[in-house]
Amino acid sequence: MTDEATAKLTASDGSKGSEGRSPGRLAWKRFKRDKTGVISAYVVIFFFVIAIAAPLIAKLYGKDPYTTYASANPNLLNVFSYPAGPNGGMSSDFWFGIEPQLGRDVFTFLLYAIRTSLGIALAATLLTVFLGVVIGVTAGYLGGKTDYLVGRVIDILLSFPSTLFFIAFMPVIYGLFIAPDEDIPTWLRATGLIIVLATFGWASIARLLRGQVLGLREREFVEAAKVTGASPRRIVFKELLPNLWTPIIIQGTLMLPAFVTAEAGLAFLGVGMIDPTPDWGVMIQRGAMFYTEDITFMLFPGLSMVIFVLAFNLLGDSVRDALDPKSKR
């Protein structure tokens, strides 16, 4: 995501001037010098590659996340339905061991879990940022009554106890699409999560961008554009937005890891994705059932999530430093 964003910044500078000292190029140079940032970028890319290539990796590895391997081969689990081998049944056949009770393959389950969780978090981040930008820029640019109204809606949304409303809101979303006695299809659960996360997430971005636009609106270059008869559309897209990319990217990098953990948290509480859909939160929820007997099964989703979130936070810090070197963390 970062590379893409920086690449976009670099590409948009126009290739006139042999020095190439555009802000985007400068930010890219600063970023490349930051070792922590580069390493965490590789870790983050690694996770996204795994997520995209999960079906391919599973095919090469020869297993899938849904088959209960223990029913074909009962020796895999002991009499208490815990993995028979040491370390959660890790072996050359089952690299990350076997799930207690059902006996599914942990390695492929984790691959697909990362795929589901990252997919939902990424979609929710994009939607949230889009909503936040549209609403925030509109409120800031139009001002007056629109601005006042949007400001009050933001105030209310930010006073909501968010986790509580995630839980209360999910059944409503399902209820809009299907009858109460039907099973909820997986796509609907995913869509519902994205909608709920975005509904309660856009307010903070919108508030920030509104403030930025209020400041920019009075600047000479916007005045000049207005005087020369530029359309509002041109002013928003060509004059305002290029100046807002830095806060937008920074907010996006803060939001994605927060959504990854929120999505997993909802699954952990049983209102997000549910078993048998592979998901980080689902794995942790199942791990929580057996943690005293088989901690290995808990460690794989937990540690991989910590590594991803940590790497993404470090990457976010580096991107912030590169884009806005004056800011102090």
Partner: protein, 350 residues
């Protein structure tokens, strides 16, 4: 509500007289409390509307197997859900301030939040029953993470660039990437199941047995603290570093004040504002229901009550919990802005 509504402005000379300031404070509080009540009104209305946005009949669930149409009608009447939705909402609102008469139940004194659809207990009593658990969890954890976070942040700011600073910064980055639902179980695995140093987390009222209260909640406090400490360490450090390079700090040093005096009376006072703001937000969120924490440690607090009320389609309980949670958030917001103005004389209550 990240940024306080107060705007930093210098008082013109003479305007800082005590009577003027306290009158300003009073007017500020009145205005903010009215604003908060409006927000609570809107949030409860949205909750009400959301609940009925899904076609459901709470009487059906309450009626059980041998349900006759007459029984169903009676239950609807008892629960007060035979009336149109706006009327139900109005009666609920009136009940909070004036009490309410339910058919088939005892008279419900103000503040009346109604009776649970699920177990027919008074909502107010159930919430009051659960509240001590959540309050113990929140305030206990707050004490731990404030001491650890601010202490570590102060040390890091004093030893800028040294090993201690780098260690505190790395630890806080790691801490902010951890999740309660992972660390909580890992901690329980090692300290409860394997080593047996601590008992399984549980709530014992403080008045019954302070020792059991403390040992039962110690693990949740520490786990919550690991996650929250990080933020305070980072913030304390960056705020102090900024304040220590301000002119007024240098002036105070140049006047010959001792290092410790300047650090605590000048730099720390200037650094406190943003920390108080975030602390208010965190405390409001924690009291509104640390839902995931309570689930992880199987504590029966407000958060668990909220999840249960959603599961059971228990509208009165859900409304009660939502009102409490949102109320805690707006209350601490107002409190934080007021405290902010007391700490920092440059803030005007506008």
């Amino acid at each position: 509500m990240a940024a306080p509504a107060a705007t930093p402005l210098y008082f013109p000379p003479g305007d800082g007289a005590p009577s003027g300031k306290s009158r300003l404070m009073f007017r500020f509080l009145v205005r903010r409390v009215i604003g908060a009540l409006v927000i609570l009104l809107i949030i409860s209305a949205i909750t009400f509307w959301l609940f009925y946005a899904v076609p459901r009949d709470p009487a059906m669930m309450s009626c059980g197997k041998n349900c006759t149409p007459e029984n169903l009608e009676q239950i609807r009447k008892n629960l007060g859900i035979d009336k149109p939705i706006p009327v139900q909402y109005w009666l609920w609102l009136v009940g909070i301030f004036a009490g309410r008469n339910y058919a088939g139940f005892d008279y419900c004194n103000a503040p009346c939040l109604g009776y649970s659809f699920a177990n027919r207990e008074p909502v107010y009593d159930t919430i009051m029953d659960r509240l001590p658990t959540t309050l113990s969890l929140a305030f206990g954890a707050a004490v731990v993470f404030l001491i650890l976070g601010i202490g570590a942040g102060m040390l890091a700011a004093l030893k800028q660039g040294k090993f201690l600073d780098k260690f505190a910064s790395s630890a806080s980055l790691l801490g902010s990437s951890l999740q309660i639902y992972f660390v909580g179980y890992i901690a329980m695995f090692f300290f409860v199941a394997q080593l047996g140093w601590l008992s399984q987390p549980q709530y014992t009222p403080l008045t019954d047995d302070p020792g059991a209260w403390f040992s039962g909640l110690l693990l949740p406090w520490l786990v919550l603290a690991i996650i929250f400490t990080a933020n305070y360490t980072r913030m304390t450090r960056s705020q102090l570093v900024e304040q220590l390079s301000e002119d007024y700090v240098r002036t105070a040093r140049a006047k010959g004040l001792s290092r410790a005096n300047v650090f605590f009376r000048f730099a720390w006072r200037g650094a406190m504002g943003p920390i108080v703001t975030v602390f208010g937000i965190d405390l409001g969120t924690l009291i509104g229901g640390a839902i995931i924490t309570e689930s992880t440690f199987s504590l029966q607090g407000i958060g668990r009550l909220a999840v249960k009320s959603v599961d059971q389609s228990d509208l009165p309980m859900l409304l009660g919990v939502t009102l409490l949670a949102a109320g805690a958030i707006v209350f601490f917001n107002i409190l934080v802005d007021a405290v902010y103005a007391l700490i920092d004389p440059r803030i005007r209550l506008a």
